[in-house]
Symmetry: C2
Subunit: 355 residues, 2 copies
């Protein structure tokens, strides 16, 4: 995979391991860790050292490749059997985002079509590498489309982190970076995004690195900055987008979308086609609830009274009527989304699930 951008790369294939940026150490330390087995990969995804829907998909794809390469199985059947078991393990790491399922199904599908064990190993690795490569190209294409929405003088509010959650460049933040590199004078307001603080830790790191002017706010300040007229566009990523345009994204997104509507501020979602799920209904989507200690503590320090119980949904659901447009690598989907999303997914040539 060639470095196509100036962006920090989050994942490298190292032959016998996957090297990933340890996002839990940022912004104080840029360090990489080696994942030497699918178990390592599953653990890194669960603990969010590796995070962001697109990146999770890529790392899971590499974990399947690693499994195939490390296996002593000699037949396609045996190998596919092993991959299916690992597929189940990896699939269960994070239940909400779509890219994980999409990438795993794509690699497993390729394995199932192999004619012998040797070809399977090569093909599975090639597929995983292709998914990683495509992610960068996808983000660059998505960013170019999205930049048509961004104008000189825009102050863009973004939530969570959408850059280091991809292989390179990012989705929502990719649009911001591309617009800035085009010479547009823009500013960003980044929400800190409790409980995991991806906005405070990661988005500030990326914006600083790029030289884009920005300010950080707490999640509760979104209404304030909108009421004061300090924001004129919202741009967020997505972990899954349903066929009608329903957006499942990091907790806090729905709150921002309601406020954006109230203040007539466009609410844009950047989502590669691998995030689009044309099959599920909202009732089918499992919203992940994470360990309540993420809410009860910050950086290992307890903030709440002993005995406190916390809720910790990792995602929320934004209905399509709050979404202005969805930016994809194949173009920009406008309402009615049930038509536009289907069309732009078809253009991508990327099938839904089993390739």
């Amino acid at each position: 995979v060639v470095d196509l951008t100036d962006d920090l790369r989050t994942v490298y294939w190292r032959g016998s391991s996957i090297e990933v940026l340890d996002q839990s150490k940022l912004p104080s330390k840029v360090s990489y860790i080696k994942l030497k087995s699918y178990e390592d990969a599953a653990e890194a995804i669960k603990t969010m050292r590796v995070r962001g829907a697109p990146l999770i998909g890529v790392v899971a794809a590499f974990a399947l490749a690693l499994t195939a390469l490390q296996s002593r199985a000699t037949s396609v059947n045996q190998l596919v059997e092993e991959l299916r078991k690992v597929h189940v393990v990896l699939r269960s790491t994070r239940p909400t985002g779509r890219n994980l399922f999409w990438a795993l199904d794509r690699v497993l599908g390729r394995a199932e079509r192999a004619e012998n064990a040797g070809e399977l190993r090569n093909a599975v690795l090639a597929e995983a590498l292709k998914i990683a490569e495509e992610d960068v190209e996808t983000n660059l294409a998505l960013a170019k489309h999205g930049s048509s929405l961004i104008e000189n003088g825009d102050v863009i509010l973004t939530h969570c982190n959408t850059g280091l959650g991809t292989v390179e460049h990012g989705t929502a933040i990719g649009v911001i970076k591309t617009s800035f590199r085009q010479g547009k004078k823009i500013e960003v307001i980044a929400t800190e995004t409790r409980p995991q603080l991806q906005g405070a830790r990661l988005t500030t790191f990326e914006l600083k690195r790029e030289g884009i002017p920005f300010r950080l706010i707490t999640d509760g300040m979104v209404g304030f900055v909108m009421a004061k007229g300090m924001v004129n566009k919202v741009l967020v990523g997505a972990d899954r987008v349903l066929k009608d345009g329903t957006v499942i994204n990091k907790i806090g997104t729905y709150t921002i979308a309601v406020l954006a509507k109230k203040h007539s501020i466009p609410f844009y979602v950047a989502a590669p086609t691998s995030t689009i799920d044309l099959e599920s209904n909202v009732e089918d989507v499992a919203i992940e609830f994470r360990d309540q200690n993420e809410v009860l503590t910050v950086k290992g320090q307890r903030i709440a009274c002993e005995g406190t119980e916390a809720l910790n949904p990792a995602f929320d659901v934004t209905p399509q009527e709050l979404v202005t447009a969805i930016v994809m690598e194949t173009g920009i989907a406008h309402p009615p989304f049930d038509v536009s999303l289907r069309k732009l997914v078809k253009v991508s040539g990327k099938s839904q699930f089993q390739p």
Copy 2:
């Protein structure tokens, strides 16, 4: 002052000092500090060891009393002159809440009516003690009125901390406590309230102490819990309420109010008459911006990338159309608030500013 409730008391007059609960140490430690001069009091208010609009008013009143008692002045004129200077210092500690101005004006007004220095000293102390005493009575009366709004089975969302921000019992949380003591089966959802985490640190502490079932959420989860139907009432305090019902309260309140409206959830504000400002317009209210380090750090640990700038407005403005009712010690104000607030302030017998 007699302990009228089982509640933790936040302030005691100790003759030559003001003893206050150090709220910066909670929930890990219940400790009191002695404020021995008006400078100590001003510092404690600025740094938010002492916080909450009603409590700030009480501590400032005691600080004026302390000034009068410590002064060597022998004439009313000299004493009033000194008190006016200190009044200016204390007034500037926190610009947004109304109770501070109300309490300071009330004590200074009493001083100005004194006939000799001895009477002034006695009268000023008596007035400060009365303000503290009245705060508890006011909260109990307010809570009783407010409890008529609370029913069995209610799940009440509250923001920031409204209990330890008073002398005893609290405003919004006072309504919750009184309702719970009446035997109503209720639950609370408390927002953590970044940046200072008053919800996570103080409200959990109070609810736990009282045995009221509750769960903590991050500020970005408000939309989620409302969309899931997990909340059926919102109850918050206020730092200032304007004559038309505009509510100025802790940052994040406006965001909650917009979401409550969207989900048809009643949005109640608990505000003693000392919080009501019948004179100012919203343009006249200075919203305090606090040090950005409060956003960039949590419990002294840096969370954002070096070089990050943060916004830190301490309050926001909720327009009256988002407010269902305002609970006061004299009754419950319903829209139109310009009529109901004025009436209930008049009933209280408490004048607006100069008594």
